[in-house]
Amino acid sequence: MKIFKKFTVTALTAVIAVTASFAGIAAAADSLKGKITVNGSTALLPLTLQAAKEFQKLHPKVKIAASGKGSVTGPQAVKKGIADIGACDWDASMDVPGFKAFEGQVANKVAVIPFATIVNKNVGVDNLTTEQLQGIFSGKITNWKDVGGSDANIVVVTRAFGSGTRVNYQAKALAGGDITKKEKNYKETGSSGDMKTAVATTPNAIGYIDLVYVSGGDIKAVKFNGVEATSDNVINGSYKIWAYGYYMTKGQPSGVTKEFIDYVQSKKFQQGSLKKLKFIPISAMKG
C-alpha cells in the first residue's frame, strides 16, 4: 500500500508539473501561482465563487476549488488539512453553543450577513418581538391569533441543528432561546433554498433565512421588534439579526491564501461584487 501510495503521489506530481509548465508558457507575466481549496458554509458560497472567478482572472496560474456542505465543515477541513480556507458563519476560534472552539485557527472577517424572519404570504402578522419569536420556536405559541394574526396553526420551518444560519438566528433573534421539535406542524430543511420553497408553499409557515434570499411574492420578511430587515438598518445598528461571515485559516494566512483573502477584503471587492451580491461590506460596521 505504501509503495502504491508513493507511486501515485509521484505520478500525480509529474502530471501536475507537466500541466503547470504548460500553463507557465501561456502566462509568464504573473508570478502568483498555487492551488487554494475552500470548503464550508454554503451561505458564503456565492461570495467565494464570485471572488474566485475574479481572482483567477487576475492571476491565471492560481486554481481555486470551492465546495460547501455546512458551516462546521469549514474549520474542520482546515484542521484536517484538506482545505486552506474554511468558510464559516460564526467565529469558529471561539466556543458557540453546540460547538467547541477550533484551536490555533484564525478567523478572517469577510462579510456581514443579515438574516430575516420570513412568513408565508397568507400570514397577516408583520411584526414579531423577541419574546413572541421565542414562544413560537419553543412551541409555546402555536396559533397565529396569539401574536395578532388570524386563527390558524403556526407551521414552524427550521434548519437542522448545527446549521450556521440556525446558530446565528438562535443567538441574535431568539436571544439564545430554544428551538424545540413538535409532534405536528414542524419541519427541518437542509438548505436556504429548501427553506424558502417550504415557507413559500406552506400556508401559515414561519421560518428564517439570509436576507439575500428574500424575494418574490410568496414569502415576506417580518419586522423584528418593530425594525424592518434592511441593509441600512443593519448598518445604523437598529436591526440586530446579523452576523459576520468568516474565512478560517490554520494560523495567520500566508502565500496565495493570504493574497486571496486580501482580495476578498479589499475595497474593490467589498464595495463592488460583494455589495452586488447583497452582503454588507465589513467596513460598514462600526466596532
Binding site: T37, L45, L49, Q56, K57, K63, A65, S67, G81, G190
Partner: protein, 291 residues
C-alpha cells in the same frame, strides 16, 4: 371449433378480459403521470432555453448565466466513471453468474453487493473524500469525482449483469460446449450477445443515475469549475450539472436562479434521453441487421 363452454372457462374468459383492461388502464395512468411530470419539468425550462445557455459560463451576480463548463464536466466525469465501472462491473457480474461456485459464500457476497446499493450516496462521497482529499491529498478533483461515482455504480452494474447472464437459457450454452468451444469463447460468442440488451438496460439505468447524482460530486469534485470551457485536466475542480442544479436550487442568490434551475433540469432530462438513445442505437441496429 365447437367446444362447450363450461361455467369455469367462461369465468376465466371474463377474468382474462377484465385483467387485460386493468393492465391497460394501469399503463395509461402511469404513462399519463410520467408525461405530466415531464411536461411540468420541460414546460418550465424549454421555452426559455437558448443554445448559448449551453456554452456560457455560470454567473454569480448577474442574470443570464449559462452552464457550459458544468455540462462538459458532467460528461467528462460520467465518462471516467463508466470507463472504470463497466469493465469491472460487467466482469464481476459474469464471474458471479458463470464461474462462482454456487455455495453459501457466493450467496452472501451477492447479498452484500445488493445491500451496498442502499448505502446513501453521501457515504460514498465521504469515502471518496477520505481517499482522495486526505490520503492522496489532491483536493477536490474531476478524477476523485469520477472514481467515487464508479464505486457507487459498481454494485448495481455487477448485479444487473449477473441477472442478465443468468437469464440466458442453459441449452444455448450447451450447444456451444458441444462444438468444443472454450468457456470464455462460449461467453463471448453465445452468452453475451443474448444477454446484451439486458446489460445495456443496466448500463443505461446506472448512467442515468450517475448523471443525476449530486451528493458524491459535491464532496469529491467540489462546487466550482476551473472557469475554462474545455478543461481536460483531471485535477481541476469539477462541478457537474446535477450539482449545479442543486446549488442553484439551494443556495444561489442570482436573481434568475429559479429559471436556471428549471432550464438545467430540462437539459438533464434531455441528456439522459440522449444517453439512452446512444447506448441502445447500435443494439437496435444490430437486431435489425440480424433479421
Amino acid at each position: 371449433m365447437n367446444f362447450t363452454r363450461t361455467r369455469h372457462s367462461a369465468r376465466s374468459q371474463r377474468n382474462n378480459k377484465l385483467a387485460t383492461i386493468a393492465f391497460y388502464t394501469l399503463g395509461a395512468l402511469v404513462m399519463l403521470l410520467i408525461f405530466w411530470l415531464l411536461f411540468t419539468i420541460l414546460s418550465k425550462g424549454v421555452p426559455s432555453l437558448r443554445p448559448d445557455f449551453l456554452i456560457k459560463q455560470p454567473e454569480e451576480m448577474d442574470a443570464g448565466g449559462g452552464i457550459g463548463p458544468v455540462l462538459f464536466n458532467s460528461f467528462y466525469i460520467l465518462f471516467i466513471s463508466l470507463l472504470i465501472s463497466i469493465p469491472i462491473g460487467v466482469g464481476a457480474g459474469i464471474y458471479m453468474a458463470e464461474y462462482a461456485p454456487d455455495n453459501k459464500f457466493t450467496g452472501a457476497l451477492r447479498i452484500c453487493v445488493e445491500s451496498l446499493s442502499s448505502v446513501p450516496s453521501i457515504v460514498f462521497g465521504l469515502l471518496g473524500l477520505a481517499i482522495f482529499a486526505e490520503y492522496f491529498n489532491v483536493g477536490l478533483t474531476i478524477l476523485g469525482g469520477g472514481v467515487s461515482l464508479a464505486l457507487l455504480n459498481l454494485p448495481m452494474l455487477a448485479r444487473v449483469t449477473e441477472e442478465a447472464v443468468r437469464a440466458v437459457p442453459g441449452e444455448i450454452r450447451e450447444a456451444g460446449y458441444a462444438l468444443g468451444m472454450t468457456k470464455f469463447h462460449v461467453i463471448r460468442k453465445v452468452v453475451l450477445p443474448v444477454a446484451m440488451p439486458a446489460i445495456v438496460t443496466g448500463v443505461c439505468l446506472v448512467a442515468g443515475r450517475a448523471f443525476g447524482e449530486s451528493a458524491v460530486i459535491i464532496l469529491t469534485a467540489g462546487l466550482s469549475t476551473s472557469g475554462e470551457m474545455w478543461d481536460f485536466n483531471l485535477f481541476s475542480p469539477g462541478e457537474t450539472l446535477a450539482v449545479h442544479l442543486w446549488y442553484v436550487q439551494s443556495e444561489a442568490i442570482v436573481e434568475d436562479a429559479r429559471q436556471i434551475a428549471d432550464k438545467s433540469a430540462a437539459v438533464l432530462v434531455f441528456v439522459v434521453l440522449l444517453i439512452n438513445f446512444i447506448f441502445r442505437f447500435p443494439l437496435w441496429l444490430g437486431r435489425r441487421r440480424g433479421r
